[in-house]
């Protein structure tokens, strides 16, 4: 065991840095710097995706034959770290990280050929139709029904928390095709166009006054059966495939380290009656506690990468990472508002909209703190709530 970095990895890191330096436009950098969510402003995120795609780097995690890079686990991690360090806007994940992998694993060749290139180049903008008003943590209880009619399905029901549905032209959805038996066994994975007759999209305004989520309504929407991925009533398998593909895919520590460093700089600027806040023992204690947690997570994530590189299943470790990553993100955003005091109470979300020439009131570095704190409360709710994640550890790992 060692932590030495091989020369070729250093060279790769330099290559990535040089590319980022040369290809990031001021608008894209600005959007990345002002991000307060895992979802970046659409225009800048898609512009950035097109630049990456031109370089062949939009989907490093895909197999090479479908447009991936063929990089090692370590190279992919280096790439992800450098994106975070350069504060690039995160790419919109629904196509690249969700639908794409599902099609790679479970789609027909025809579906792969039709959709994957358009995911890469951004022509198709996907949204995810999973949750429903009555089916959140208990996703398998979903009720949106797809009734067979000739060569089509006819959809009725509603989906909620559909991120960026109001920007999307495609949706991948879990729908019910059988109401009998175990709930997981009557679910089908469908692809559909967002401009089909009978679809209504209602944006939902969030706590941060941004409409990131939507509710989508289906009223007798006709979807061709050829848009099914996998077998009928076997959509749960497709959805689960995504989880195995994604395992260890997301790393939180690099982003958390960037945020902590910025908070340290903010604390240097805040004067207490006894000197700068970063010299205050209470602040130092809280900061150090988070640094320790993030260092631990960084090595948990390295253990996952090490296992994956060796072709092993990281198992329990990857179950932890969503819980740790999201809750540490929440704590880091909390320390940031505590560091800023009343400066984080000033509310000017319009100044975060790219291209708005809104003068900032107060220190510019305080601008994202409160919106990000509020937005990050969602992280422990979405993608399988952290209660569900703890249940998985208890059941699948501890055997309780």
């Amino acid at each position: 065991m060692d932590l030495r970095v091989p020369e070729q990895e250093k060279a790769f890191r330099d290559e990535v840095r040089t590319f980022l330096e040369e290809s990031l436009t001021p608008e894209i950098r600005e959007a990345g710097r002002m991000v307060t969510s895992v979802f970046a402003p659409v225009k800048e995120a898609m512009a950035w995706q097109r630049i990456l795609n031109d370089k062949g780097w939009a989907a490093p995690h895909w197999p090479k034959e479908f447009g991936g890079t063929g990089w090692s686990v370590t190279q992919r991690a280096i790439f992800a770290e450098e994106l975070v360090r350069a504060e690039t806007p995160p790419l919109v994940p629904m196509g690249l990280h969700m639908c794409g992998p599902c099609l790679i694993g479970c789609g027909t060749e025809e579906q792969q050929q039709e959709y994957l290139p358009k995911i890469l180049n951004g022509e198709h903008f996907w949204c995810q139709g999973y949750s429903e008003p009555g089916s959140g943590s208990d996703l398998a209880s979903l009720k949106t029904f797809a009734e067979k009619d000739g060569d089509d399905y006819i959809l009725n029901g509603t989906k909620i928390w559909t991120t960026y549905a109001h920007y999307a032209n495609k949706m991948f959805a879990l729908v019910r095709t059988n109401r009998d038996g175990k709930p997981q066994q009557g679910i089908t994975f469908l692809l559909l166009d967002m401009d089909l007759p009978g679809i209504t999209i209602e944006p939902i305004v969030g706590l941060d006054e941004v409409s990131e989520q939507c509710q989508v309504f289906f009223d007798n929407v006709r979807v061709p059966q050829k848009n099914r991925v996998g077998e009928e009533n076997d959509g749960w398998t497709v959805a689960k495939y995504l989880l195995t593909f994604e395992r260890g895919g997301q790393e939180y520590a690099p982003g958390l380290n960037v945020m902590l460093e910025k908070i340290r700089l903010m604390a240097e600027k805040q004067q207490t009656a006894f000197g700068p806040l970063n010299q205050d023992p209470v602040w130092q204690y809280k900061f150090a506690a988070l640094e320790a947690d993030v260092l631990a997570l960084e090595f948990t994530e390295m253990r996952i990468k090490s296992a994956l590189s060796a072709g092993k299943d990281p198992g329990a470790l990857s179950s932890m990472s969503k819980i740790l990553g999201t809750e540490l993100l929440q704590k880091v955003t909390e320390l940031r508002i505590e560091t800023l005091g009343s400066q984080s109470v000033i509310w000017q979300p319009q100044a975060l909209v790219p291209g708005e020439e809104q003068p900032v009131i107060g220190p510019e570095y305080a601008l994202t703190a409160m919106p990000h704190y509020l937005n990050s409360r969602a992280c422990s709710i979405y993608g399988g709530s952290n209660e569900v994640q703890r249940g998985i550890i208890a059941k699948a790992v501890l055997g309780l």
Binding site: G136, G341, V345, R377
Partner: protein, 374 residues
């Protein structure tokens, strides 16, 4: 010892609760996507109900009531998330005016009682962790006048205010209690520039710039360099009121979360039946009741003039920050996605209690103040 409300206090509580039942501001918070002017009609209603007169002496046309009555009133207003700037104008503004000269009082209190004068306390400064002693903004003494230069930040009600109470340094260094002075400044005086902004809780504040603003001796409250004690006492009254209001808001957050958990079904039963959520809601309840206990401790010790009253006020504001954070975070988590929306009331209550922690020193600041006051 008796923690029961008097008949008079009960009447005030009942009237405030009736008002809130008819006038909850949750819908207003939902609509409130840009800076809103003062809701003059509601403010006039406050005047008509006699609420603006609560903390003023009878000789000034007030009701001669104190912090206990303010607590009762504010707790009810907090339940309805009422946005009216009562604390800025009546509790803080009124608190300072009660310490002002007879001439200053004659000029201001009647208008305030009629609902025609708004006040704001300009205390906080950018990049300075708030305590009164940490104030840096300079006020230069020139003969009998004083010239103010500098910026005050996040002044609650700052844009609506007609009158500013400005805390500035006429001597000493940041960290010193000595050398602080208080001035009444016309918000529209030459050299006063205000940039209004919303605050996270849907209310309004302002950055206020003072550029060579000259005020006369007659505009000072208290002694030159001797403003600290007045500022501390009035600020502590403001903190009591802020905490009372927040206890009202926290109780709504708790109740709404509990009710939601009874009606939201997942895995074939209401989520409130899951023990993991029951324990967490029990902890929310405990945190809220502990906050209420410290509110009573701080208020009663202040009213009765106990030696450790200031320490209890710090404890209360610290508890408010910590319990408020916990209750707000759990309220969102247990509501799931719905808790993240602008549509439900819960998010607006969360934003209020989160904002309150950041005002006039957060939990860390007040715990340190408590440690240093021991």
């Amino acid at each position: 010892m008796n923690f029961q409300l008097s008949e008079e206090q009960q009447m005030l509580a009942d009237s405030a609760k009736r008002f809130v039942r008819d006038n909850s501001d949750v819908e207003k918070h939902r609509q409130n996507k840009k800076l809103m002017p003062l809701d003059a009609a509601t403010w006039q209603q406050f005047a008509d109900l006699g609420w603006l007169a609560v903390p003023f002496e009878e000789e000034h046309g007030g009701l001669g009531m104190g912090q206990l009555e303010t607590m009762v009133l504010l707790e009810a207003l907090g339940e309805g998330l009422i946005m009216a700037p009562y604390i800025a104008t009546v509790v803080l503004g009124g608190g300072f005016l009660r310490q002002a000269s007879a001439a200053q009082q004659a000029e201001t209190i009647p208008a305030l009682l009629e609902g025609k004068l708004q006040v704001a306390f300009a205390a906080e400064e950018y990049e300075r962790v708030f305590t009164l002693e940490n104030t840096a903004m300079a006020a230069e003494v020139q003969g009998t006048d004083v010239v103010l230069n500098g910026i005050k930040s996040c002044v609650m009600n700052g844009d609506q205010a007609d009158l500013l109470v400005v805390l500035a340094r006429t001597g000493g260094q940041p960290g010193d209690q000595d050398g602080l002075s208080l001035f009444l400044v016309d918000a529209n005086a030459p050299g006063v520039e205000r940039v209004a902004h919303r605050t996270v809780d849907g209310r309004q504040g302002a950055e206020i710039r003072f550029n060579q603003v000259k005020v006369s001796e007659a505009a000072r409250i208290g002694e030159l360099n001797g403003g600290y004690a007045i500022a501390r006492d009035v600020l502590h009254e403001g903190l009591l009121a802020l905490s009372a209001e927040s206890v009202g808001s926290l109780s709504v957050l708790l109740n709404e979360t509990v009710e939601y958990s009874k009606t939201r079904n997942q895995f074939g039963m209401p989520i409130g039946k899951f023990q993991v959520l029951q324990f967490r809601m029990a902890d929310m309840f405990i945190a809220m009741e502990q906050t209420r206990s410290l509110l009573l401790a701080a208020t009663l010790k202040t009213v009765e003039g106990h030696d450790d009253a200031a320490k209890a006020v710090h404890a209360m504001k610290a508890q408010l920050g910590r319990a408020g954070r916990k209750i707000a975070q759990e309220a969102i988590q247990i509501h799931g996605g719905m808790g993240m929306t602008d549509e439900l009331g819960v998010g607006h209550y969360v934003k209020r209690v989160t904002g309150v922690d950041g005002l006039f020193g957060n939990a860390d600041v007040h715990l340190m103040a408590m440690a240093r006051s021991a």
